[in-house]
């Protein structure tokens, strides 16, 4: 019988971990076992994460979410999927997209949408090289993203960043980043400023399983913990560091257990279940907003496409097929249909909306002007 992850859904701050006495600190020092005993509401049942059986959505959970939000989440997931597919279409057909460096988010949509749906206006994120999903989930406009990916003057970054660096500070998107793990300490600093300025905001740092093996993971999480910062670390474990499987690169089965080393709650969730991700993100975000400090959330998921573009893919085909069967969009759609929220006409309308948006984005980018070459000399200094 697979042991599925469990985490308590109680959110009362009073039950969250507090580190006030030295004896408690001592207990932390003795490791994860002691940590788990501290009656932490976010405690996971750790162990081999078995995903053969998809966790059932808790039927009580959606009742807390408005139909508008749920349909919005569905629309965003579809938009991400369609955006990435459009990137691939163009990458393969349009010479001006040859250099675009597409790291597609296909298969991970539930993680971005589940997490960002738990944020409020004013909250911020740092993103990664596989960032298109995070940006759309934060409300970025596909047409301005597509223009940036093509290096056009109308793109979010005026064509200076490309796919790996899209930012929209107005929307709280503090940038995708081309370096694995680089966003972790940056998000920590953003949260530091939020706390210093009493802004009542939260910063989410998205990063992959490989980033959890970088030094900045240790440095960022330690700083966030000692300063009790309003930051949520969302590790998207998509099982591969380019070609290397996580089982060969990582010392633990669940990256969330590393949270114990930083005296913060750690939770592993099914990253292909938007509601589970939402739930974990919501409790971590509100915990952070309440001043109780950072949380590490690990979302187990899978990227369906190769690491980048049409790079060779050495992953076992049967593994890919197994994960395709756990498609986050299909699962969310089934849930919405069963709940009676997604009637056929709504589904058709949303599908058309998404198609129009993406087609519009593609033509907008295509028709946009290249930057004036002299723009290369602007923005070096503020």
């Amino acid at each position: 019988m697979p042991r599925l992850l469990q985490y308590s859904r109680s959110l009362e701050p009073s039950r969250c971990i507090r580190l006030e006495s030295t004896s408690e600190r001592g207990a932390y020092a003795s490791g994860y076992e002691a940590w788990a005993k501290l009656n932490n509401p976010m405690t996971t049942t750790v162990g081999p994460w078995v995903s053969d059986t998809a966790p059932q959505s808790d039927p009580s959970s959606p009742s807390k979410l408005s139909p508008e939000l749920l349909l919005q989440m569905y629309r965003e997931m579809l938009t991400i999927r369609a955006f990435e597919e459009a990137c691939y279409d163009q990458f393969r057909s349009d010479p001006s997209m040859r250099y675009a460096g597409i790291h597609a988010y296909i298969g991970q949509e539930a993680t971005a949408v589940g997490t960002c749906s738990a944020l409020r206006k004013g909250d911020k994120i740092t993103s990664t090289h596989r960032g298109h999903g995070h940006l759309i989930a934060m409300g970025a406009e596909p047409k301005l993203m597509m223009a940036e990916i093509q290096g056009k003057s109308t793109g979010y970054n005026k064509g200076k960043g490309g796919s790996l660096h899209i930012a929209s500070f107005d929307l709280g998107i503090l940038g995708a980043n081309g370096v694995v793990g680089a966003g972790i300490p940056i998000a920590t600093g953003v949260a530091f400023a939020m706390k210093h300025k009493h802004l009542n905001q939260v910063c989410v740092s998205f990063f992959g399983d490989s980033a959890a093996n970088e030094g900045v993971f240790n440095e960022g999480l330690n700083l966030a913990s000692i300063w009790k910062l309003p930051v949520v670390f969302v590790c998207e474990n998509n099982q591969y560091a380019v070609h290397t499987p996580v089982t060969e690169s990582t010392s633990v089965a669940d990256i969330s257990v590393r949270a114990a080393g930083y005296s913060m709650p750690g939770v592993t969730v099914d990253g292909n279940d938007a509601l589970k991700v939402y739930e974990a993100a919501y409790s971590a975000v509100e915990r952070a907003r309440g001043g109780a400090g950072p949380t590490l959330i690990e979302c187990k998921t899978y990227r369906i496409m190769p690491h980048q573009g049409d790079m060779p893919d050495y992953r076992p085909p049967e593994e890919k097929e197994a994960w395709k069967a756990k498609d986050p969009i299909k699962r969310f759609e089934e849930f919405l249909t069963k709940s009676g929220l997604l009637k056929q006409e709504t589904k058709t309308a949303i599908a058309k909306q998404v198609t129009d948006t993406i087609q519009g984005a593609v033509s907008y980018a295509r028709e946009s002007n290249w930057p004036d070459p002299k723009q290369a000399y602007q923005d070096v200094y503020a």
Partner: protein, 326 residues
């Protein structure tokens, strides 16, 4: 009335404290960063109450540098303190691949008013891992402005300008300079970036000297004077932006150029100045340019060995005489 004299380190500390008082967004962050303010009472051991805007960190260079980047994105103005410049290497992705590039890559959305305050340290018997002049390498990274003051007065004025600048600034002190004293008026003043200072006017030869090399060049110039050679000592004060015009004016006058840089010779900043003058003012030169720089070997510990490879008064005098054919 003679101006008061304070040390280089105190002058920088004053600048930071005055800017913190002027702008509540200025914070100090880094390892043992209370030292940047020269306020021992801020040491955690003595501090009854921590300073609300001085954030001492663990030795986590990538972590606290990244934190400064994030804080700057949110409108704070961090003075990012490293005990020694070489420790930046432990956080190098954040220092060189994030700070100077994010403003540009984001199309101007990210504004990062970060001042990295740290030291170059050749000549202090530290050996290669701690003894290295990093300004040429940083000058090769577009996005940083780089200040290398040589006197307490310049240090205070340049630090104030650095903190007020909206772009990332690398402010490199020098271990050999930190205890030196000089006149610093109590009145408010700043020094613009990209404005060289003629430390000693002269007509026979231009000696461009950087950071702690200014003092050596001045000593050399005084000895050369006794031998009938009138050297002009020019201190660029900031290498990015570089006051090329001041160097050109001086070379137009003297026709001879020696550049003293306590960096490794290959791709030193002396090399950059030499190339710039050769490209743009070749006609003014009456003799080839000479660089006085550190030999291309890791800096050794033994005083005898270190003195062998670093620029000295003697080497500057020899270089000047060589370009003047004397």
């Amino acid at each position: 009335m003679s101006a008061r004299e304070i040390t280089f380190g105190r002058a920088v500390a004053e600048a930071i404290q005055e800017e913190m008082a002027r702008d509540k967004n200025v914070i100090v962050i880094g390892e043992d960063c209370w030292r940047a303010l020269e306020e021992d009472q801020l040491h955690p051991k003595y501090a009854r109450k921590p300073h609300p805007r001085v954030f001492n960190t663990p030795i986590s260079e990538a972590g606290f540098t990244g934190a400064a980047v994030g804080a700057a994105m949110m409108g704070l103005r961090p003075v990012l303190y490293f005990l020694m410049g070489m420790f930046m290497l432990s956080g190098f992705d954040q220092v060189v691949n994030q700070i100077p590039k994010l403003g540009y890559l984001s199309g101007g959305q990210a504004k990062l008013p970060i001042v990295i305050y740290t030291s170059n340290a050749v000549g202090n018997r530290y050996a290669a891992q701690h003894a290295w002049s990093m300004h040429p390498m940083f000058a090769n990274i577009p996005g940083f402005k780089i200040a290398l003051p040589s006197t307490p007065y310049d240090a205070k004025g340049l630090m104030k300008t650095a903190i007020r600048d909206d772009s990332p600034v690398l402010f490199l002190s020098h271990f050999l300079l930190e205890g030196t004293k000089g006149a610093v008026p109590e009145r408010e003043f700043t020094i613009d970036f990209g404005k060289a200072d003629i430390k000693r006017p002269g007509k026979d030869v231009t000696v461009v000297a950087i950071s702690s090399m200014v003092d050596k060049a001045m000593r050399a110039a005084r000895r050369l004077e006794r031998q009938g050679i009138d050297a002009e000592v020019l201190d660029p004060r900031t290498v990015v932006p570089l006051d090329k015009e001041a160097i050109f004016r001086s070379v137009e006058k003297t026709g001879h150029l020696v550049i003293v840089d306590d960096a490794h010779r290959t791709c030193s900043f002396a090399s950059e100045i030499s190339a710039t003058v050769a490209e743009e003012k070749f006609d003014c030169l009456k003799a080839p340019v000479k660089r006085v720089a550190i030999a291309d070997v890791p800096v050794p510990f033994s005083p005898v060995l270190e003195d062998e490879i670093v620029p000295t008064e003697r080497k500057i005098i020899d270089a000047v005489k060589s370009v003047l054919n004397r």
